[in-house]
Amino acid sequence: MSGLKTNNRVIKWFDHRLPVFSYVNEHLVDYPAPRNLNYMWNFGSLAGIALVIMIATGLLLAMQYTPHVDHAFDSVERIMRDVNFGWLIRYIHMNGASFFFIVVYLHMFRGLYYGSYKAPREILWGLGVIILLLMMGTAFMGYVLPWGQMSYWGATVITNLFSAIPLVGDSIVSWLWGGFSVDNPTLNRFFGLHYLLPFVIAAVVFLHLWALHRFGSNNPLGIDAKGPQDKIPFHPYYTVKDMFGLGIFLILFALFIFYAPNYMGHPDNYIEADPLVTPAHIVPEWYFLPFYAMLRAITFDISIPFTGIVLIDAKLGGVLTMFGSILLLFFLPWLDSSPVRSSRFRPLHKQFFWVLVVACLVLGYVGAKPPEQPWVTIGQIATAYYFAHFLIILPLLGRLERPKPLPASISDPVLKSDGSGASQAKPMEKA
């Protein structure tokens, strides 16, 4: 690429000293992207926009919010009733968290389907998993801030997870709390961290994009671009496509904000926190439900057979399973041993991928149910599948599966699309 083209002398002068304009040009304008990207490639930019929306609305909320157990709940109610457009800003922030997760989950499943985590994009994928972990921490601590019943009891249950750690568990929990229960010190530090972490996320997003632009985007065929004929400049082709996707996103987002702002929330969080009364049924926000189901799936101790010596009790087992389900994703690039990226050419992987999707949805459903039969067993089966998918099925598929023939290049299936069965790519799906 020839670099920045401009006649504006001020821009030239500035760019010579601090090349931000060249940088933007290189990464957002001239940047060569595969010509066959489909709509599943929209979710990355949407996630970025969601992060900006969260930081902007969060900043305004922070200016009206009081992080003290005696005032937090009332200050949020004041935002809702008295602050000009406070209700709007809060509803954007609340539903924004949900939409952020929707977008990021779709973005990740896209990566799973098209094998975007494979060499040379392992670091890119790992940075994405780090972003997910940071988002989970941020959303969890944000949910504590309005100091409703679900805030308080969610915080209690989740911080208590750490008490499962042998020996030091209890000291860690009281260190997290800054006291002997979730209380004012806890609320204060959660507010501080909730403010900080989104900026850490922004920094990791920067690294994520840096890693992305080293080798460029993967694409629905999963094969490397063979030359300039396989690529088109990001602007205007993908800026336009991303804007269109943003329009759809904003319509759906607005539907929730204006017509069903509390649909994804829990009514108990409009009751002020009461440390002496646990709500009958504690459920986390929907985006944590699959993980919550895995936590509760381990209802049995793991012991050395015939000795009765318990190695891992049910509580620690649940915690390890839950965290393990995410940590596992870091190793995915090495667990999946198939050299073919896209599931379009992997008939078996494609089917197992959809089983995994179903298992995750089932886990989400079970996570919202009380811990009774048949949900316990169903949750255990889905949890077992989740782990088997990554630890057993993927390594075996790489050896057993016979992939379909790959097209010679990205433009190849487009040019001879009529009749030839070489690919299912919709011709010119993109540009």
């Binding site: 009281s174 800054g178 006291g179 010190p185 646990t278 049910a314 009380p370």
Partner: protein, 187 residues
């Protein structure tokens, strides 16, 4: 790291294994630096632990006389709920009769009380910290007639011992003593 340290080939201090005095200095300085950094970080980490005013939270004094047999009250101690139950003879008997082999966390009832009719426990589920139901007469009391934690389904018996469900331990008994026949001091 030896590469750059030994750039000036054949420098003094080489021994046979190719390590140099400079390598040793690097290691020593690194170790001292790490210890220094760790001790500088400790105050920062420790500042997050419970502060003196929170640790100093006083003991709680409770008058038991208004609690009728079969009744239970919940008081707070160090911000945590404490269950105090005036047990009936029947409840005491069922608690004492259970064979220890049936228990997940074996502990005889006698070790959990000072006076058998007064059961005093921290009312926090040992699973993940919810407050079990069973204090008021209309609450579900679980399969063993004591307490039931609705969060993930832990059942406690009339001695507050875990019998079924994911909780690993019996409900904790705080340290307390009788100040007189009808007053206890917790903590």
């Amino acid at each position: 790291m030896a590469d750059s340290a030994n750039a000036g080939q054949g420098g003094a201090g080489h021994d046979d294994e190719g390590t140099s005095r400079r390598d040793f200095l690097y290691l020593a300085v690194g170790a001292v630096g790490a210890v220094g950094a760790a001790s500088a970080v400790w105050p920062l980490i420790d500042s997050l632990n419970p502060a003196a005013d929170i640790r100093a939270l006083a003991t709680s004094r409770v008058d038991l006389s208004p609690i009728e047999e079969g009744q239970a009250i919940t008081i707070t101690w160090q911000g945590k709920p404490v269950f105090i139950r005036h047990r009936t003879a029947e409840e005491i008997e069922t608690a004492e009769e259970v064979p220890l082999d049936d228990l997940i966390d074996p502990e005889p009832d006698a070790e959990r009380v000072i006076e058998p009719q007064w059961l005093v426990m921290v009312g926090i589920c040992t699973h993940l910290g919810c407050i079990p139901l069973g204090q008021s007469s209309s609450d579900p009391k679980g399969d063993f007639g004591g307490w039931f934690c609705p969060c993930h389904g832990s059942h406690y018996d009339t001695s507050g011992r875990i019998r079924k469900g994911p909780a690993p331990r019996n409900l904790d008994v705080p340290t307390y003593e009788f100040a007189d026949d009808t007053t206890i001091v917790i903590g």
